[in-house]
């Protein structure tokens, strides 16, 4: 392909963005508890579901992080959502299907998935 205009360059830039976007900590973050207890409760499947959903929706500026046990083992799998200007929302006992809902409703549209929330902190 030849770059013959600024638009061409922008197009390459757009498609190249995900090459480096994961390297700047995006304002929007998804954090999955992957301690031993989390993994035993199915956190791995939740993570896979989240990654697939993000991919399907073409969401690039989201940082997906993992974290160790935070001492709420009975509520695992735990997923935290951080959106700019909002408190950190923690969801508990998240199944892969719940995770997809959380991405669609909270991450994309900004509506908290009330039935799964177990806490909010700043």
């Amino acid at each position: 392909m030849k770059v013959t205009s600024l638009e061409d360059l922008r197009k390459i830039k757009e498609s190249a963005k995900d090459l480096t976007s994961a390297r700047s900590r995006g304002a929007t973050r998804v954090i999955i508890g992957m301690g031993t207890c989390g993994i035993a409760a199915g956190a791995r499947e939740v993570m896979t579901a989240i990654l697939e959903e993000l991919d399907k929706r073409g969401l690039k500026d989201v940082a997906v992080e993992t974290t160790g046990c935070i001492g709420m083992c009975q509520k695992e799998p735990l997923v935290d959502i951080i959106r700019p200007g909002e408190p950190r929302t923690t969801y508990g006992e998240v199944s892969p299907a719940d995770a997809v809902r959380i991405i669609a409703e909270h991450l994309v549209n900004g509506h908290i998935v009330e039935d799964k929330v177990i806490g909010q902190t700043d």
């Binding site: 770059v3 205009s5 600024l6 190249a16 090459l19 994961a22 390297r23 997906v64």
Partner: protein, 597 residues
């Protein structure tokens, strides 16, 4: 394409490659596959982060954790703990030398947090072998902006406004230089990138070329557009094979996109770029010698005028800039000259990359705003003096530079203040010197270098430096006379005055500055026959304290010239006539009975 939640960046700069990063990369690749993470964790090669001492360096995003001295054996733990479970591998994190704090984030490491990275902005952050990553970071946007919305004169105005000055040593205003070349008559013009980097210990240009080759290329193209050139050369020393490889790859990739070639982005501007490998002589970094070398002649300077801007390569108007100068240009065109001019001091704008080496805790590349103090560089970023020794001096500017002392620590570093103090910015070598280093020895080291590298064309440089060296040798062997200091100074000033090119004109700087700031050390060598730092071999001796000696015989066993005698009943004694002052006895004595006096 899969959603990569994490990126693992493995440094493949020259330093980390030497310490084993390629095998760490392979091990990571295998381990990620084995754990089924290869579809969600991307593995990326980068250029130098400037912290080669701590290499191999591995950085993991989105957290931005930096792991030091990573080995193949650490790989399973990194994958299991960090990438799978989200727990930092504490033992591999960078630890601050003073507080022993393990720093979880790259950007919080003192070495980086005080830096302002403009020229180095992509180094260690992108894969230099993939042009798309450069484009993702706004690459070639400045070129597109210039070609579609700016006249060549406007590009020059922007660079003038920025206040950018040459980073190769001289500090000449870049925009003004471009304007000379723009105005020069000629149907054919050239741009050249000076990547000779001959200063011993300097590696900023190498790291830039390895870590972000496109930035240098884009800068050259902007310069070519501005002055009306259609062809360029990068003159790079052959000792930089990785930089040359990356450059070749980058030029090829830019060519595939049509970003190098004819009628770039549909404009009238065409550009072709060549690499010329140099043999690595210091004098070939001098611009007129460099051009002679590109033309296949012997690398010797010729007198200016005519200046390259009027009569340069193959007699055509030519603009030559240093690697770092070029790398700043795309940032200036993209963000505006006023933005760049807002950084730095009144007369020195923007940032400068320094290669921090010597007796500091953190060695490596640092990019700081002009006007940053030496204290900030040495003590904050550099983490202070190695082994808690006392600071004595910094040698700044390479063999053409000078030594500054404690009283200069709060000096804001810019072109003017350094020149006023007798040193120069040079290309950015910064060697930290502690109390165990002899200043006579330091000036000898640098003078030996320039003396050896003198091309021999003019007498003051060729013979003058030789005479100066003889005097220094006399002084360090305890045979100096007080009058020698005056002769040395006169010779130095003469060489400075009378030499043809910058090599000779600056070669005396280390001697002159040490004479100015550390004269008492020279005098101690001459008057007291003592080397205060205990370095000059002729002026020190090793002695054994009979009170402390336990007669173990270890020193005698290890002495390479068998000059230590003694036995179970008599304390050991060193025969000063035969002793070669290697210091082995001092090292091996378990009871600290040997000392240097």
């Amino acid at each position: 394409m899969a959603f990569y939640r994490a990126h693992v960046l493995v440094c493949k700069g020259t330093g980390c490659t030497a310490s084993g990063s390629p095998s760490v990369y392979e091990a990571l690749k295998k381990e990620l596959e084995r754990r089924g993470l290869d579809q969600e964790v991307a593995l990326v090669e980068t250029g130098c982060h400037g912290m080669c001492e701590m290499g191999p360096i591995v950085v993991i995003y989105p957290e931005g954790s930096l792991y030091c001295r990573v080995t193949v054996d650490d790989v399973p733990e990194i994958v299991e703990e960090h990438l799978y479970k989200g727990r930092l591998v504490q033992r591999l994190l960078y630890t601050t030398p003073d507080t022993k704090f393990k720093v979880p984030h790259y950007r919080d490491i003192p070495f980086y947090s005080k830096q302002l990275r403009i020229a180095l902005r992509n180094c260690g952050y992108i894969n230099p072998d993939n042009i798309d990553e450069y484009i993702a970071r706004d690459g070639y946007e400045a070129l597109a902006k210039a070609l579609t919305t700016m006249k060549p004169e406007e590009v020059i105005t922007e660079v003038r406004t920025s206040g950018l000055r040459g980073r190769g040593g001289g500090g000449f205003p870049t925009g003004t230089k471009w304007e000379f070349c723009r105005k020069a008559q000629g149907d054919k013009k050239y741009v050249i990138c000076n990547a000779d980097e001959g200063d011993p210990g300097a590696f900023m240009d190498r790291s830039l070329l390895e870590g972000d080759p496109h930035a240098v290329i884009e800068g050259m193209m902007l310069g070519a557009y501005a002055i009306g050139a259609d062809e360029g050369y990068i003159y790079c020393r052959a000792e930089y094979p990785l930089a040359i490889k990356r450059l070749r790859g980058a030029i090829a990739q830019a060519g595939e996109y049509g970003l190098i070639g004819d009628n770039i982005m549909g404009s009238d501007f065409s550009f072709h770029l060549h690499i010329k490998e140099g043999a690595g002589a210091f004098v070939c970094g001098e611009e007129t010698a460099l051009m002679a070398s590109i033309q296949g002649e012997r690398g010797m300077p010729y007198p200016r005028p005519p200046f390259p801007a009027n009569k340069g390569l193959w007699g055509k108007p030519t603009n030559i800039n240093n690697v770092e100068t070029w790398a700043n240009v795309p940032n200036i065109i993209r963000n505006g000259g006023a933005w760049y001019a807002s950084i730095g001091t009144e007369k020195s704008k923007g940032t400068k990359v320094f290669a921090l080496t010597g007796k500091v805790n953190n060695t490596g590349l640092v990019e700081v705003p002009m006007g940053t103090t030496l204290r900030d560089i040495v003590f904050d970023m550099g983490g202070g003096i190695l082994n808690n020794r006392k600071f004595k001096a910094v040698q700044i500017g390479g063999p053409s530079g000078g030594c500054l002392a404690e009283q200069h620590l709060d000096l804001p570093v810019d072109y003017e203040s350094l020149t006023a103090a007798g040193a120069i910015m040079g290309s950015g070598g910064l060697v930290v010197i502690d109390e165990d280093t002899c200043m006579v020895d330091v000036s000898k080291f640098f003078l030996e270098f320039t003396q050896r590298e003198s091309c021999g064309k003019c007498v003051p440089c060729r013979e003058g430096t030789k005479q100066m060296l003889l005097i220094l040798d006399k002084i360090s062997s305890g045979k100096g006379r007080m009058e020698d200091l005056k002769i040395l100074e006169d010779l130095a000033l003469m060489v400075k005055e009378m030499s043809l090119c910058g090599l000779g004109q600056t070669a005396p700087n280390p001697v002159l500055t040490t004479l100015r700031y550390f004269r008492e050390e020279y005098e101690a060598h001459i008057r007291d026959k003592k080397c205060p730092a205990m370095v000059c071999k002729a002026l020190i001796s090793y002695v054994i304290d009979p009170e402390k000696c336990r007669k173990c015989g270890l020193c005698a066993k290890n002495c390479p010239v068998n000059c230590i005698a003694g036995d179970r009943n008599t304390p050991y004694v060193i025969d000063q006539e035969k002793c070669i002052k290697c210091g082995t006895c001092l090292e091996v004595c378990p009871f600290q009975a040997v000392s240097k006096v």
